[in-house]
Symmetry: C2
Subunit: 507 residues, 2 copies
Amino acid sequence: MQIKKALLVLSLLLTAQTFAQTSPAAAAAKSYRRMHEHEIINEYVNLLSIPNVASDTPNIRRNAALISQMLERRGVKVRLLEVPEAPPVVFGEILTPGATRTLTFYVHYDGQPVEPAKWAGGDPFKPILRSAALEAGGRDIPLPGKGEKFDPEWRLYARSTGDDKAPIMAICAALDALNAGKISINANLKFFFEGEEEAGSPHLEQIAEKDRDLLKTDAWLICDGPVDQTRQQQVFFGARGVTGFEVTVYGPRRELHSGHYGNWAPNPALMLSKLLSSMKDDDGRVLVKGYYDGIEPLSETEKRAFAEAPDNDGLLKRELGLGWSEGAGKKLIEVINLPSLNIRGFVSSSVGATARNVIPSSATASVDLRLVKGIDHKVAVDRVIEHIRAQGYHVVETDPDDATRLKYPKIAKVMRQGGYNASRTSMDLPISKAIVAAVESARGKVVKMPTLGGSVPLYIFTDNLNTPCIGIPIANHDNNQHSANENIRLQNLWDGIETMAALLTMK
Amino acid sequence: MQIKKALLVLSLLLTAQTFAQTSPAAAAAKSYRRMHEHEIINEYVNLLSIPNVASDTPNIRRNAALISQMLERRGVKVRLLEVPEAPPVVFGEILTPGATRTLTFYVHYDGQPVEPAKWAGGDPFKPILRSAALEAGGRDIPLPGKGEKFDPEWRLYARSTGDDKAPIMAICAALDALNAGKISINANLKFFFEGEEEAGSPHLEQIAEKDRDLLKTDAWLICDGPVDQTRQQQVFFGARGVTGFEVTVYGPRRELHSGHYGNWAPNPALMLSKLLSSMKDDDGRVLVKGYYDGIEPLSETEKRAFAEAPDNDGLLKRELGLGWSEGAGKKLIEVINLPSLNIRGFVSSSVGATARNVIPSSATASVDLRLVKGIDHKVAVDRVIEHIRAQGYHVVETDPDDATRLKYPKIAKVMRQGGYNASRTSMDLPISKAIVAAVESARGKVVKMPTLGGSVPLYIFTDNLNTPCIGIPIANHDNNQHSANENIRLQNLWDGIETMAALLTMK
């Protein structure tokens, strides 16, 4: 009931969003799309039907081959960028005589691993069209025939519909529209379609270094992520960094009978509860000493962007069934500009049917940290480890032996995980303004996000390659990214084609 | 290394425990046992070979039949006490003309469920003799032939070796010894061997009520549980009550991307950590308001018993790898006379290989409470629920609906579990003193425990049947009760036979 009300408010908001589309390329893309929805969806279904988990080498190569063909068919000069044991990057170029600017479109064609049993249709690589989101009662519908109407609220379900094959399809359809409308391309364009982003981009740094000259560009356009929760187009200028650790604390060497020893043998679940509780206050502020030290301040433009961003918090809380939020009343868009500390999960012994009357012998929590500009990911974990020490813990890296157990009342094993730093491109750069202007010419006023809450290794582009990096997402926010039943709302794909048309024709 | 040192200290302590055995029956039992170890162990192996999980009806009945035969062969008049859908109680009587006292021996012949894969031998019902505890490097040895020597430090491994078939075997062997030594029985003896104690004795109250007249007795002798950790014989006069609950707190309706929403969407694992942390201080004292109210004070005799009990805490800490204990320095034997609050386990999302970068949608803890005389088990849970409310939670009994989620920032679902109250028999009763004297005549000075830390539904005997109830355990404390690799140390079985001989011949 509450969800339906939220959706109603949302659609009223959307109806109010009328604007004059000033981009001729976007207008041409709209006309072209209206005439070719059937072909676009058919080609997209074809692309989505190839499984694309990064570790599935044969299928990853089939994806790369098909995408190469799709680009070549549109006049793009394509090659694969390879390093050993990595999915290839599909790299394409459109060189424009006399161009004064080079723009590079980043997309990734791999997707998150899948658990088919959790998908309504049973097969994440067999795309299914539905009349609405499953959560809103969407039912399966057959693909319309040529010339039949597509409802823009329909959704196409399959892995990577939203994250991140949609921009590939949008770029291809936009190139078709430009060609059909004889609209010229004005810049040098490069396409960099990665094949292992969801596996953590383990070779991206190496490829960027190896092909440094090839990748010279005036800006990276990161076509990934969702649009705003109001469905308004957004442009983002950075992403939080990420790291994490797993912490284990210890009780008795073996699980003990909770009657014979309860009240006496220390309980590691309680110890871990106290340790985790010490890390954040009731408003969600991190209490680790120095946790916020060194944060690079936001510019006036970035602060203004917050003020101008829509306040979606009320809608989101209704959608998510939340009676409150962390951050002492600050908006979501504001708090993602702070580093976070999040318990991904914790486990000690069992609950439910398998709970036993025991004092557990250990308790483990997995924690991730999201970072902002000015905080190094290794330093952030160092600070948390110091905090754990300050709570009276002896910190180790492997399970403690007998002597260690007896010497130190409280022992915490901390297993550090990898990570990378946050990245941010100034909104005030001419290229930043030009990209915002291009997107707005297609889609009207955009939400400008100084940073994404999530993490993308943009530092490789901004810091290693020293290039501005700006994000233009397409997918609906409720696309079930990374989960089962991932989907794209058709209107988001249609909008994406127009956005890409405007960007592809930038001067 | 530390364990070996602890065991060394332990064995030195044990060597020092020499005493004069003043019970002729116990002395006769010792002589008889030394001549018949082979037969005793063979008969015990036979009994242990029948699976005895309470829900395994055919095998439970096979156990009851064999135990009936074992008793009948020793001149005990046996019948089965039955109520529908319950394992039968094997009930036996030896009526003694002119007896002035009736004593009832309680044992349970069922055992905890088993996970064969966790047993070193792979089959919990195929007894294996080992040269020492597995933890101390014990290796499998064949059963000695007739007349061959048994090392008293050997251990016999199988489900219920320690908990709780040992007293059945000890009573049978003691009856043989009395018969062989022509030593007379002086009281009326009853044997009440239950078949579903490990399933929570769901029909015990009903059986006790139905056969109330048959069960008239001057005392219940509860032959269950382990002896002191120093291996000294103990006698206990009560048991803690028990109850529990499961508590779930809620975050977003679905797991959220920890980047896009981390710092804003409330984290239920953190909320649960804070809630659990609020329940106990760093010394383990329960902070729930009124938690200790109404505790029935201990008598002078009971207080003296603490002072006289061995201080095993140092040894235990070494054995368990603990650098500290709860209770602000109080001894284990002392703190089990207080109610406890123990986290049996908690779970929220995942850790380790299956951890995902999410804000979990809920977190659940399973908690058990151990109770002492004067605290009703329902009242104890009421107090904890009040505490949860005092932390700002709206308490519900089922998963909250959308309206509830939005109305209350913090929601806790509390699922109460069943339970029963603590029980305690005065150490000052003549029957209490007589039983202690009988056990000491066989085993030397005993450790007198006002209560067991664990829970046994003794209230059925003490409160419903209004009869004193005194516990005389046999098993070694390190018998892995309830776990895999349960075992009995042979010396504990030998000692048990002598103890039972002394009790069976009480006047």
